[in-house]
Amino acid sequence: MTEDLQYVGRTYPVHDAAQKVTGELVYGSDIHLPGMLYAKLLLSPIPHGMVTNIDSSAAEALPGVVKVFSHLNTPADVYCRARLTPEQELCPADETLFSEHVRFVGDRVAAVVATTQAIAAAAVALIEVEYAELPALLTTEEAQRRDDLPIHPAGNVFFEHEEECGRRAQSADAVVVSSTTTTPRIHHAALEPHVCVVQPHSTGGLTVWSTSQGVYGARTVVADFLGLEYHRVRVIKAPMGGSFGGKTEFILEPVTAYMAQKTRRPVKLLLDREECMIATMCRPATASTIRTTCSPQGLLEDMEVATVLDAGAYASSTSDYAVHMCKKITKLYRLPHYHHRAQAVYTNTPVAGAMRGWGAPEIISALEIHMDRVAGELGMDPVDLRLRNLMHPFEVDPVTAMSIGDGRVRECLERGAAAFDWSARRGRDPGRGRYRRGVGVACGAHKNGMFGKFAEASNMTLKMNEDGTFELGASLHEVGCGIVTVMKVIIAEVLGVSPDLVAAGEADTSSTPFDYGTFGSRVTYVVGACAKATAEKLKEEIVTAAADLLHEPRERLTVEGGEVHVQDDGQRGVAFKDIARLSHMRHSPAITASVTYYATSNPASYSVQFAEVEVDCATGLVAVTDFLAVGDVGQAINRGMVHAQFQGAVQMGIGYALYEHMDVDEAGRSGIDGFKNYHVVNAPDMPDIQVLLVEHSGDDGPFGAKSVGEIATVPTAAAVINAVNHALGTSLSDLPATPEKILAALHPEEVGG
């Protein structure tokens, strides 16, 4: 932590914490408007088929039912829910409001809009739908094989991406290691279900309350679908109860907007937990095969990777995901040659899409489980093998051709290994009894924003009020990690005033300037840098106004403690509040600054994590008994919240490693319909997570800060699996490592009879 920082690096609550502990905050699901109607969806019970008949007469006859929607009375136009901006690439439009061709258990078939939620639900149960079933392709292997049975016209393998760099070379005595890791389809499990509220206006426009991570993207998708001019669609970011990427895409906005427009009444579509699980989106299931060649001394020479992503029934963002899975490994390790091919495949399963880490937890799990396999083949310590190959600061990632910046993965590993007492703990015998202990390590890499893909930028306006307080106009999307507070702290640091004097709120397309939103690990690094630049420009404006008031040249003025002083004259100065007040009467009615900040770098963020587990060999249950997360964060802005990001991310990663999955059975059903059969790690099962921050402010983020929220969960699952494999002497790589899989690995002779 830099010593001369006054506010940055300390600990603050999220900006709306007081409203959250009192129950005052109105979340999206709490919104109630006069005359509001409630919508309930009817979802396909079959994984693949054609709707041949819909009889909604009984539903329509129910008192309180306003309208029933289905493919029969809605446009067949296709759109892409994941599109952030109109000209964006890799956004296949393959989804309709309601499906005639249903493609998974959970596809939208119809919806009832009624005066109460209860009536809407009762009416949905009265709709009779007939289907002509088609063969369901429930795995990527089946879908790849059955190209005679395309789920969409584009074919089942709808996207491929390849990256290759370096030159293939192999030493004579090279060691070759291959492994395949599969990662599961999982539910985001944000505690607040998905919701959207839309109010139509007699002017022809709409107001949309969206609990999404990007209101401007939502606006273009909704307005383009409805054929409305953008200025007629106002999208307000409503407070949301968590997202983790699950609300990045505009799943409910188009259908809710359409129903509101047609009924000319406000409509609220609030999903229940089962609907969230099967009918929104999941983290994509992936399979990655890695073939590594390395010298007997453990220097990597070549890595060949093949990844298959299960996109589920609609493309959503899976093609972009596939691209980004090819852009992680070379941020982590020096590789003389690297070749990665990724395929995205449609299946008749729940839709895959954005989730925390955007491909990194998937590919890093495969990579880091594989690296332990390599270490095992070479008889090397996993930490030593990694240290021989990890990237050094300011090296260039050959895939993106961009510098990794001041990336400190090596330091994370070295300091973490010392703090965790790695060598001693790894050297201990796991035991041969019922309870066996093991330790594992994994490294992870991620990014900072979208520079290299988009014109990565943000825009803000900051003004000083007449009493010397400040208001930020910015399209912030709080998802719960405290980004509003981060902006306030950055501005406070620049201006030298308490963060309590800075007001900031969330995005509203009618009043806050363009920003993509909260995703892509861009907020602290890019939006935060914009906040800093805007505050610096405002500070200049304040000095200009003070110079006028004090009749002094700007060069003689300094800013400190909420005042502008004349240098070498301790007596003369003027407080911010007086500058604001007096300037109003003089030359400048508004002390304000607007800045568009363009990112020009995209360094890597790293985390290295160490897990200790105890496995009960009788039951196959795993307890995570100790955990250290080391983060290469540049500079913590809100220190406590940075720690909390790691703690929550590790909780999610433990679930990814051991418990969570949405596998489907032969009928295409996941069998998962609530938290009763989907295990989110709870308080008694969580170890206390130790967090160690490595802070070097060598990159372009505000005060050197880098991304945290996504990288924090990237290596967790691999660290846990590697610890289990160490404890048991197994080579598990099929996530999650459930008790059944662990027992099968311990007793291979009993598997398959």
Partner: protein, 167 residues
């Protein structure tokens, strides 16, 4: 049917369906939207309220079952002299992120402290076992409950932490 319900110290005379869940009466009829619904099956605990000093999933009980009992929701935690100690500790310890689990967490913690004012860490974690949080990993929540249990009940009310602490 007619139902007399005491919620947050106030008597209400309500007309409810016999099958109405307590959560729906609290949220829809009384506007107490601090009571959150996350799963509708008693697994996530976001809807936890206190009924006669016991933590209850309000999605799993009928409103009629609270007849003649005292219901406390998160809206009733703060008093005229400010926030409840638990609320202040949740803010101070960074136990609030997205905040959707927070009301339920607070009510489960409150019910614990009513019967066990100085719980062990294990007891805190067990009391919160039915409250899921996807943001925090529970560390800060457990710390907040522990801090509230360690402070004397009559400690002077401090303003919510807004200034940065050097923790």
């Amino acid at each position: 049917m007619r139902l007399l319900l005491n919620v947050n110290g106030m008597e209400h005379e309500l007309d409810v369906r016999p099958t109405a869940r307590l959560i729906d009466v609290l949220r829809l009829q009384l506007g107490l939207t601090g009571v959150k619904e996350g799963c509708s099956e008693g697994e996530c605990g976001a809807c936890t309220v206190i009924v006669d000093d016991k933590a209850v999933n309000s999605c799993l009980v009928l409103a009629a079952q609270a007849r003649g009992k005292k219901v406390l929701t998160v809206e009733g935690l703060a008093g005229d002299d400010g926030l409840d100690l638990l609320q202040r500790m949740f803010i101070e310890h960074g136990a609030v992120q997205c905040g959707y689990c927070t009301p339920g967490m607070l009510m489960s913690a409150k019910a614990l402290l009513i019967v066990d004012p100085h719980p062990t860490e294990e007891a805190i974690r067990l009391a919160l076992a039915g409250n899921l949080c996807r943001c925090t990993g529970y560390t800060t929540i457990v710390a907040a409950v522990r801090a509230a249990s360690e402070q004397p009940a009559e400690s002077p009310s401090a303003p919510p932490a807004g200034e940065g602490s050097a923790a």
